[in-house]
């Protein structure tokens, strides 16, 4: 019973950590738009935290390059399990228009496992909220608090 309660609480209280890997700020503005009174994602218990140690969901925007790869990995490692990664926008998915650049590794999934991909350039706030709720459903399927990273 207690396990079920924890599982319910996980879905009801996801705390977000937002990391900008080198995005043009388009997707970042859309993420922050979700927090405004128009979308008000705090209705669902979602809080934007600045500390990876408190976060449940990592939102990543922008392309990964050789410099910020370490930072992204560090943030991911600091988050306690169970955790989710949501890649937002074309750049985070595949590198976008920068994928040919010499310093770009590509999408976020080249470095850390990604659970949900949200498309768009920039991604719409509605799409971001959809992506996060889709990711939350993965919590119900998790075993022993860990999520099998199926792609």
């Amino acid at each position: 019973m207690f396990k079920k309660l924890i599982q319910k609480a996980r879905i009801k209280s996801p705390w977000l950590l937002h990391y900008d890997c080198g995005s043009c700020n388009g997707c970042d503005i859309e993420i922050l738009a979700c927090l405004t009174p128009v979308y008000d994602i705090e209705r669902f218990g979602i809080i934007n935290v600045g500390n990876p140690m408190h976060a449940d969901i990592l939102l990543v925007t922008g392309t990964v390059n050789y410099r910020n790869r370490e930072v992204l990995l560090n943030l991911y490692d600091q988050m306690p399990d169970p955790k989710l990664v949501v890649a937002i926008g074309s750049c985070a998915l595949s590198g976008g228009i920068f994928r040919e650049a010499y310093n770009v590794i590509g999408g976020v999934d080249k470095v850390i496992p990604v659970d949900v991909y949200v498309t768009g350039c920039p991604a719409k706030p509605e799409a971001i909220i959809d992506g996060v709720t889709l990711g939350l459903n993965l919590f119900t399927r998790s075993k022993k608090g860990k999520i099998a990273h199926a792609r």
């Binding site: 209280s13 705090e42 600045g50 500390n51």
Partner: protein, 283 residues
């Protein structure tokens, strides 16, 4: 004997239940003031249960030890309050809890945690003398530091100690981590110092600090209730009005720095306390 056991049980259960609901109410009120809808009332409980189910990661053993001590001290302080014990004893037990939280934060080397811990120490330095003055005021009026002595008091203390109630308001704002005094950590602090004092507490230990904070919140609101202990209706009105005012102040004011806090709180708090105590003594 059984009565004592019942009071202990009430204290232990009422802390998290009331504290959680009150902070849920706080989040709804804050959201409404910002023209948002806000989370459900029981959102803080979801948060704590979720944190409880997360992976255990600690910086070192001391941090975990301090988190447990914080909850233990704050819950004991609240139980003592429900047992109508000595005001000074309650204050000191509560202070021990607050210091353990700081020591836990200091045990990590993270700069955010360190800065948060130092600021929390300054906050403790600001509000502790004020709380002692409130206790002294209550003693001068009722002739006893025991809360039990207030039961037979027919006139609300607020009439005799109005300035000391304002002073308690300052301490309450600091203790509830509300603007303009939310220097060490706050619900929204994520740009300036990540999460300050609580940066390195994570998972179940963050849940423990949250539960400890609920105990403290109920204890502080309990202190407010002493000022209208003569009837339940007046007490409820006083607590609700004070809490609404706290949320309002939190929303309309910006975070200030510690120099301002120490200067302002000491200058205003100590002056108001002295004026009230002298007035009591002369009158």
């Amino acid at each position: 004997m059984t009565e004592t056991a019942v009071y202990i049980l009430i204290g232990l259960i009422a802390g998290p239940l009331l504290g959680g609901s009150v902070s849920g109410l706080d989040r709804i009120l804050t959201a409404r003031l910002q023209s948002r809808i806000g989370p459900p009332l029981w959102q803080p409980f979801y948060d704590v249960v979720k944190l409880w189910g997360k992976e255990k990661t600690v910086v070192n053993v001391w941090q975990a030890f301090c988190a447990y001590c914080y909850v233990a001290a704050t819950s004991i302080a609240l139980v003592l309050f429900f047992l109508k014990s000595d005001l000074l004893l309650i204050l000191f037990t509560q202070a021990v809890g607050a210091v353990f939280l700081v020591v836990g934060a200091l045990s990590s080397t993270s700069p955010f945690s360190q800065v948060g811990a130092h600021r929390e120490l300054l906050q403790i330095l600001s509000y502790e003398p004020l709380l002692i003055f409130v206790a002294i005021g209550i003693y001068l009026e009722t002739g006893s530091f025991k809360i039990a002595g207030l039961d037979t008091w027919n006139e609300p203390l607020l009439m005799k100690l109005p300035f000391l109630f304002v002073v308690l308001g300052y301490a309450l704002t600091i203790k509830l981590r509300k603007s303009p005094f939310d220097l060490s950590t706050s619900h929204h602090a994520h740009q300036e110092l990540v999460k300050g004092l609580l940066t390195d507490y994570s998972g179940p230990f963050l849940a423990l600090t949250e539960i400890g904070h609920w105990y403290e919140m109920v204890l502080m609101l309990g202190f407010c209730s002493l000022f209208w202990a003569s009837n339940w209706f007046g007490m409820m009105i006083l607590i609700l009005a004070t809490y609404f005012l706290e949320v309002l102040i939190d929303n309309v004011s910006a975070r200030m720095n510690w120099r301002w806090m120490l200067g302002y709180v000491w200058a205003m708090g100590l002056t108001l306390s002295l004026v009230n105590i002298i007035w009591l003594y002369v009158g």
